[in-house]
């Protein structure tokens, strides 16, 4: 099985993000970057498919030189090959998808796995874009995956429940939390990962379709009001809901 996993480099989940002086980009000073947590589920699923069916796992990212660290992490987890589609410019989801599609188009992948979203820009667009650009099915937010021969059965989280859908390989799967428990890297794999090559591909020229005009930090939530359980506070609650919250 020829497996592609698309990965991205995102700020560590606990980092507090500040907006840069231009008001359009995140200030990267002091920020630690990691492999996007949803991509870990995608990569783990890819590794399990390889363990079951044979074949190889390629991890690819569209990013600048700095993102080689997450490719090393991917190798340490067990990816066979990694590639970076290199660009040092700011770009959007469309640009990313075009470049991933270009990379995938002549390499005959049986399955393409991605995280359901990258936790930095949260666009959630790439799995669908890729399906469209490559002309293959794309199943999003998958929390359980079964593949027999060419038949794919995927369980998706939908509002308030589950949905089971089927498709044929080749297809695209975006991973939801719970799909699996990503493995911890082992020392021999980390050592091996260090000496493996990273394929470099120049990004194709394609115009982004969106531009960021402004970025801002959400204003702080208003402090809650705690009322005691006395009868008087019931009246107060009604007044507050009416006059302050304006919901009744």
């Amino acid at each position: 099985m020829n497996i592609l996993v698309c990965v991205s480099r995102v700020p560590d989940t606990t980092t507090r993000i500040l907006v840069g002086p231009d008001g359009k980009t995140a200030d990267k000073t002091g920020v630690k970057f990691v492999l996007n947590p949803f991509d870990e589920f995608a990569l783990e699923e890819g590794l399990r498919l390889r363990e079951k069916n044979g074949g190889s796992v390629t991890a690819v990212t569209v990013a600048g030189e700095v993102a080689k660290d997450i490719l090393r992490t991917s190798l340490a987890m067990g990816a066979d090959k990694v590639a970076i589609i290199k660009t040092e410019n700011e770009f959007d989801s469309y640009f990313t998808a075009q470049n991933l599609a270009e990379f995938a188009s002549n390499r005959a992948f049986d399955i393409i796995l991605l995280g359901k979203q990258s936790i930095d820009y949260d666009s959630l667009q790439i799995p669908a874009y890729l399906g469209e650009l490559l002309g293959i099915p794309s199943i999003g937010v998958v929390s359980k995956l079964q593949i027999e021969g060419n038949n794919v059965s995927a369980e998706r989280d939908i509002e308030g429940g589950k949905e089971i859908v089927s498709a044929q390989l080749p297809c695209i799967i975006s991973a939801q939390k719970g799909l699996n428990e990503p493995r911890y890297p082992k020392l021999p794999d980390i050592m091996k990962a260090k000496s493996k090559p990273i394929e470099e591909v120049a990004a194709i020229d394609c115009q982004p379709r969106t531009t960021i005009l402004e970025m801002s930090i959400p204003s702080k939530k208003r402090a809650g009001v705690i009322l005691d359980g006395s009868d008087g506070s019931l009246d107060k609650l009604v007044t507050l809901l009416h006059e302050e919250a304006k919901v009744i």
Partner: protein, 491 residues
Amino acid sequence: MKIKKNNDEIESYLRDASNLKGSANAVYLPETVAELQKQIKKLYHSDIPFSIYAAGTGLTGSAVAEKGVVISMELLNSFIEFNADKKYLKVQSGVRLEDIQDFLETQNFFYPPNPTEKLSFIGGNIATNASGARTFKYGMSRNFVRYLKLILANGKMLELRRGQNLATDVNLILYADDGSETALVLPSIKMPNCKNASGYYIKPDMDAIDLFIGSEGTLAAVAEIELSVLPMPDNIMAGIIFFNEFNKMLEFIVQSRDFSNERNKIDINLNDKPCARLIEYFDNNSLEFLKTFYSQIPHDAIGAVWFEQEYYYEFENIILVQWYELITKYSDLADGSWFALNETEHRKFREFRHKLPLTINELTSKNIQTKIATDTAVPMENFEKLFYKIHEILSETGINTCVFGHVGNNHLHANFFVINEDERKVALTAYQKIIDLTLELQGTVSAEHGIGKLKKNYLKQMYGDEAIQAMKAIKRALDPKMLINQGNLFD
């Protein structure tokens, strides 16, 4: 100032993580240091006993009031000042440890003593002289306290800056803000030569600030704290190493402890060898608990060690190779062990460690029992004896137990999960055996959780009656009416 008096409002202030239940008439929640001071003065003049409650994560009932009222520190939660050049952070005592670490992270700094329970308040940490995994390299909370603003039982303020108020031999004089003096004659008490959180810190020529750190709120309320902080190391590697043979695991622990103690003295930019900043242990039963959440623990593992190392990037490869060689020497499970070089993985390892006490505490609550867990440490040269014997004592009980802890600091937590009175008796007998053993080995009955209300007998056994009376005399000199945190440390 907020005041709570309804039973259902104050109930949560009458217990801590040990499940001990207390009693009080009201909870006061000062919002400023001035309010705290005024309230304590009032209580003093009315002879009302009061207990200081921080986050209530303590494991010894030390924050649980026996009577009187509770003063909750939760609203004294402001950051006061951060100075990167001088490397300090000044906060009020009700700031959560987690908020301190999060804030410092944005500044690329960290606060080294990192007790596992991040929801605790920094004031609680100082009052218990809490410690964490990194204490192996950096020491306990005490080492990072530069300044304290204290409110004494009579409502007077006492400010102490490290280095500025030392005892002359055994004579220590404290100067309150109104100019009044309290002169103490320090008794001669032999503190154990290991990590310790049992009773007062007392030594000739000591710094006054050290008397209050770890005094479990029995001498004063901590209002403000200035902490030393450090720039974040650039690179950290970590491993959770699984072992399949008990003796070899112990050898690995002792080896890595000893070489790390030596190499931690070297500047990390010059060190190209394995050197842990923390060494934590999990026994077989601990791993069994964790297997419910972590399916990747190797089946044949009988124990595990978690370590972290700070290092200079250039040496990454050669340090990794040496760890690998070392681990393969002591374990057949080197290839199944977990390694981490990035923050996401480090966090997962820390969660793995934290999951254990959480699971244990949940199980204890579910069994409707108070926690039975030892907290003993011994001097380095006696650690191996402690390690062997604790496992032996536990396996003889025939009840559900586990051991884990800060083995770098020669410190182990043995936990007992009892479901009825009979098992409880068996557990308490084994507990006593571990205390006896620890004291034989010149150790301490509590290395980090403190004495509180649940371990007073053990403190007495450790120091003897005379020393306890001497500690009590110190309390009486500072709190003549014996009002603050009654019932902690001694009766």
